[in-house]
């Protein structure tokens, strides 16, 4: 189980990093989203994996570690806010510059590049 979990985290990280390195804002946002999945899973797993652990006191002998869970819970919400911010920033930069390249190039440059 642990191996497949770690593999998934690694895969998500790799996919996230690759997409973050793209040149257009939208794939970068998708990449960041994937990366935040990976980060959340990673942080969550620092409490080790537990199956059928109790979420609520008094229902079982085995508890999952609550501390990473609490940390990740807020991280998920803030991750959303950050994804939204980057996305809107990308839209704004497209509105102002005429293209959605992450380097903030001016509108004419991509066409020159095509030649």
């Amino acid at each position: 189980m642990e191996a497949i979990f770690a593999f998934s985290v690694g895969l998500l990280t790799a996919a996230g990093v690759f997409l973050s390195l793209r040149g257009r804002s939208f794939p970068v946002v998708v990449g960041i989203t994937l990366l935040s999945y990976a980060v959340n899973l990673f942080l969550f797993s620092s409490g080790r994996l537990t199956i059928n652990g109790a979420a609520v006191l008094g229902t079982s002998e085995v508890y999952a570690d609550p501390v990473p869970q609490a940390l990740v819970l807020t991280a998920i919400v803030i991750g959303f806010a950050m994804t939204a911010f980057v996305l809107i920033l990308g839209m704004r930069s497209r509105a102002d510059l005429g293209n959605d390249h992450v380097d903030g190039r001016l509108a004419v440059e991509p066409e020159e590049k095509k030649k």
Partner: protein, 931 residues
């Protein structure tokens, strides 16, 4: 406590002239002098204790863990220097009152001067190495302000910049050296460091420490090859030169060497570096001084030469030479300060400092001339003056020195040679300025300066004579305590007498006198010889080096920082990978000893779906719609994973966040290109893929290594105290709203700020609204589908009920403010989707900014509320109540806090999504703004 006030009074004094700026010039000077005078008085009250051999100390804790404290320490050496700084400082204040003209900003000048005085006192009185360094840098900065005081002159600006660069760079080396000392000794306390001389000298890092500390001292004390900044600092007003270059700034380096003498000296390395540098500086300074036509230039190089002499003495590693060094520090301060002041008077009264113009001033200002001649004679080492005594001691010591083996004879020969030039330039100072015919084209007709301007010079000259004639009586005890403090123990036998009989040092003095006068007499030949060498202008070279440095840095910066975000991210991740790889290689076994969970089929299938969806997201990344659909699958599996591994709260949160994220991405995609153009070069693809692959592998390995190792966490604390302390059985929620409530408060603030930032970005956005999709099919403009409208409308109360339920039970069951807030948001967004922005606008009149603000406010006020019960911020309270029909229920202040979280989450989510959605309609904030 009196000790603390000695540096503190001048520090307060920096404000005095600024506050007194409206008064007359006399009052400003008087008020400025007041606090340093009080500090001087305090210094004298400490004298009995210091002269009886005590070391006074006072210290306060500052950052004890880092070994930092505010500590002051007063021993003989510090007392001597403090006396020089405060005493000569008083004279400088008086002198500057008459020197500065009406146009100069006198209060500012005095303020800088006192700041500098404070910094110098800080250096000599510090009882902690880091604190010493702090004041060291403060002298660099305040001397920069003083040297560049006439900032309208290019010379002054360049000189100030050069001094700051050289001494500042030396200061950094010194910091490194002192940090190493602290590492070796285990303390930055000066007392402890001084007691650990053997420890440091035997440590492997000793050569490094020595070189670094000496770099600091040499740059400050203008030792060769760092001497070139000092002559250029002469563009400062003369009181500054007199202060900085006689008693203070340049003496800071000497002080450092004397202070660290018990710790660093006594080795051959010390001798070689310190004495050879000193000897070179002595010779170069003395030789160049002779050829300077500028009065202050001559004095500047003579200062360099005398600093070299003191350094040479300190480098010779004998107790007597150290006593001689300290004696010469005092003598040099006295005669050099008075010479600078005399030069300032001459400059002031004649309008020039060029010795080819100023001749024969004896007739015009006999009084000043007499004073200057006595001082210059002392500089040359004429008997009956203080300079003679320390020079004799110097000669005697050079004869004793044997470390150079069979070449040892060279040291006294070179010392005599240096003194020959010293006599020659002193003779030039006297003869050229006060005799030698008539003045040539002077801008002003010279006459005696104001009475009070001469007083500081007279005081110093009196001192020179008194020390020179009654050395034992005037300076004996002070020299004894200062030397024993510098040596860190007993004093050698020495006698301060004018007459030691006919001996070799006297012969050397005699030779130097005769040789100097001969050279001066034949100076024309020497000048002609020297004129053959093109004079290198240190300023030009320095500026050139600086410009090259800036150019080099610019090139590197432009290479590194070319504006490409892709490149930055790449480099950042690449660096992270390299940093991670090291510890990973050191890790022997990937797998830990924790017993692992068995793999079941369901999880395996979910993992396969996750992998497939992730790959699809990447593979179809250029077809954006496909990409985000696969992304949503990934998100779904991630929430299932949370549910599987016993984290229902996380699963619920992830699920609702997933919904809002997807809506957000779809909305944004409406305005953005549907496809990503193919523009990555294959080489770049390979590069990115390999980096991504490696980093993914590294992260996966770290994760595996982590989760297969047993965990010793502090979770038991939360599990044990959740019910009893926080009154809830859902530990995750109790951590959020109770244990770590402050963190959560910070997090919802971040959420609110992000939402506000997004709102501001949207408001001014001018977007082209596409009317068709990427293949050219026009978007449907029909009404909202009836089925969706009806179903979603009837679902709304249900959804709100669910969210209320989730919210209320959050403290004891999975749920809480974050999740309930997200569910409510999703329910409202559903209405937006089903009915459109216009329809909602008429029915839902909520200002989302207010919602966010009130949410954060409620949460914060809940925290403040506990103050009324004399509890720390965010202490929670809970109790159980009984109501008929409902039964027992619990009320907790944490619920109010959670309500704040709930409102903030709704406000932030809707502020983002609703405003983005509004862009498609005539309700668009952008439209409103332009109307």
């Amino acid at each position: 406590m009196g000790l603390l006030w000695i540096p503190l009074l001048p520090m307060l004094g920096t404000l005095m002239p600024l506050m007194a700026a409206r008064f007359s010039r006399n009052s400003i000077a008087l008020l400025t002098a007041l606090l340093p005078a009080a500090a001087l008085f305090l210094l004298f009250t400490q004298a009995p204790a210091v002269f009886s051999g005590q070391v006074l100390a006072v210290s306060f804790k500052w950052i004890p863990l880092a070994g930092l404290e505010v500590a002051f320490r007063l021993d003989g050496l510090a007392w001597l220097f403090a006396l020089l700084i405060l005493g000569i400082g008083q004279l400088i204040i008086l002198y500057a009152r008459y020197y500065l003209s009406e146009q100069d900003n006198m209060p500012l000048f005095y303020s800088y001067l006192l700041l500098f005085m404070t910094a110098m006192l800080g250096i000599v009185l510090s009882g902690n190495l880091i604190q010493l360094w702090f004041f060291w840098e403060l002298t660099s900065i305040s001397s920069f302000l003083l040297i560049g005081f006439w900032s309208h002159k290019s010379e002054a600006r360049k000189g100030a910049r050069m001094a700051l660069t050289i001494t500042g760079a030396g200061g950094l080396a010194l910091l490194a050296g002192l940090l190493l000392v602290g590492q070796v000794v285990g303390s930055y306390d000066l007392g402890e460091v001084l007691a650990s001389g053997d420890l440091i000298r035997e440590h492997a890092a000793y050569p490094v420490i020595l070189v670094l500390v000496l770099l600091g001292a040499f740059t400050k004390s203008a030792q060769f090859p760092f001497h070139f900044w000092l002559p250029h600092a002469m563009s400062a007003p003369t009181p500054v030169s007199a202060y900085l270059h006689s008693a203070t700034m340049v003496k800071a380096g000497i002080f450092l060497m004397a202070r660290m003498y018990p710790v660093l000296s006594g080795t051959e390395l010390w001798f070689l570096i310190v004495s050879m540098t000193g000897l070179a500086t002595l010779l170069i300074g003395a030789y160049v001084a002779l050829f300077k036509h500028d009065l202050k230039g001559l004095l500047a190089y003579s200062t360099i030469s005398h600093l070299g002499l003191i350094t040479l003495l300190l480098g010779m590693n004998t107790q007597l030479s150290t006593v001689a060094a300290i004696f010469h520090i005092v003598n040099h301060a006295a005669f050099k300060a008075s010479l600078f002041m005399a030069a300032g008077i001459i400059d002031h009264e004649t309008g020039t400092r060029d010795m080819r113009q100023i001749n024969g001033l004896w007739k015009y200002m006999p009084h000043t001339a007499t004073l200057a001649m006595v001082a210059a004679a002392s500089m040359a080492g004429v008997p009956l003056l203080n300079g003679f005594l320390s020079k004799e001691m110097f000669f005697a010591e050079t004869l004793q020195q044997v470390t150079l083996g069979s070449l040892s004879w060279m040291v006294p020969v070179f010392a005599t040679l240096g003194t020959v030039f010293s006599v020659a330039y002193s003779a030039r100072f006297i003869h050229d300025v006060f005799f030698n015919g008539e003045p040539v084209d002077l801008p002003k007709t010279p006459h005696e300066p104001p009475r009070f301007m001469r007083i500081p010079v007279e005081v110093l000259i009196a001192l020179c004579l008194l020390i020179g004639i009654f050395p034992n009586f005037v300076i004996g005890p002070l020299l004894a305590i200062a030397s024993s403090a510098a040596l860190g123990g007993d004093l050698p036998n020495y006698s301060l007498a004018i007459w030691h009989g006919f001996n070799v040092p006297l012969l050397m003095s005699f030779l130097a006198m005769v040789g100097g006068l001969i050279i001066y007499y034949n100076r024309k030949h020497l000048f002609r010889f020297q004129a053959q060498f093109p004079e290198a202008d240190a300023k030009l070279i320095f500026e050139w080096v600086m410009q090259q440095l800036v150019k080099g840095c610019t090139v590197i910066m432009q290479k590194l920082e070319n504006g490409s975000l892709q490149r930055y991210i790449y480099l950042l991740i690449f660096l992270a990978m390299i940093l991670m790889a090291g510890p990973m290689i050191d890790l022997n076994a990937t797998e830990g000893h924790k017993s692992q969970l068995p793999l079941d089929n369901l999880t395996l299938i979910a993992a396969i779906i996750l992998a497939a969806a992730t790959l699809a997201t990447v593979l179809f990344n250029r077809k954006r719609l496909v990409s985000i659909i696969s992304l949503s699958v990934v998100g779904l599996i991630v929430s299932l994973a949370f549910a599987r591994f016993s984290a229902p709260d996380l699963a619920l949160t992830q699920l609702s966040v997933e919904v809002v994220t997807m809506i957000l991405l779809l909305l944004a995609l409406f305005f953005l290109p549907q496809n990503t153009p193919k523009e990555s070069h294959p080489r770049r693809l390979v590069r990115d893929l390999s980096l991504a692959g490696i980093i993914g592998g590294v992260i996966g390995t770290i994760n595996y290594a982590m989760i297969t190792r047993p965990l010793d966490s502090l979770s038991w604390f939360y599990l044990e105290n959740s019910k009893t302390g926080g009154g809830g059985t859902n530990v995750v929620n109790v951590i959020l709203v109770d244990f770590r409530g402050l963190d959560t408060l910070g997090e919802i603030s971040v959420l609110g700020i992000a939402a506000l930032g997004i709102y501001k970005l949207i408001v001014r956005m001018r977007l082209y609204m596409p009317s068709s999709d990427s293949t050219g099919r026009p978007w449907a403009v029909g009404r909202h589908p009836m089925m969706l409208s009806v179903v979603s409308q009837s679902l709304l109360p249900l959804a709100l009920l669910v969210s209320a339920y989730i919210f209320l039970r959050g403290h004891n069951m999975p749920g809480g403010g974050f999740i309930a807030g997200l569910i409510t948001s999703v329910a409202i967004i559903q209405q937006y989707i089903a009915h459109g922005v216009d329809w909602i606008k008429d029915r839902l009149r909520i200002n989302y900014q207010w919602l966010v603000a009130s949410g954060i406010l409620i949460a914060a006020l809940t925290g403040v509320g506990s103050w009324f019960f004399n509890r720390p911020f965010l202490t929670t309270w809970y109790d159980y109540f009984n109501l008929p029909l409902i039964g027992e229920f619990e009320l907790a202040s944490a619920m109010l806090f959670d309500l704040g979280v709930y409102l903030t989450v709704i406000g932030a989510t809707l502020m983002i999504l609703a405003n983005l959605g509004k862009l498609t309609t005539k309700q668009s904030p952008a439209m409103k703004e332009s109307n």
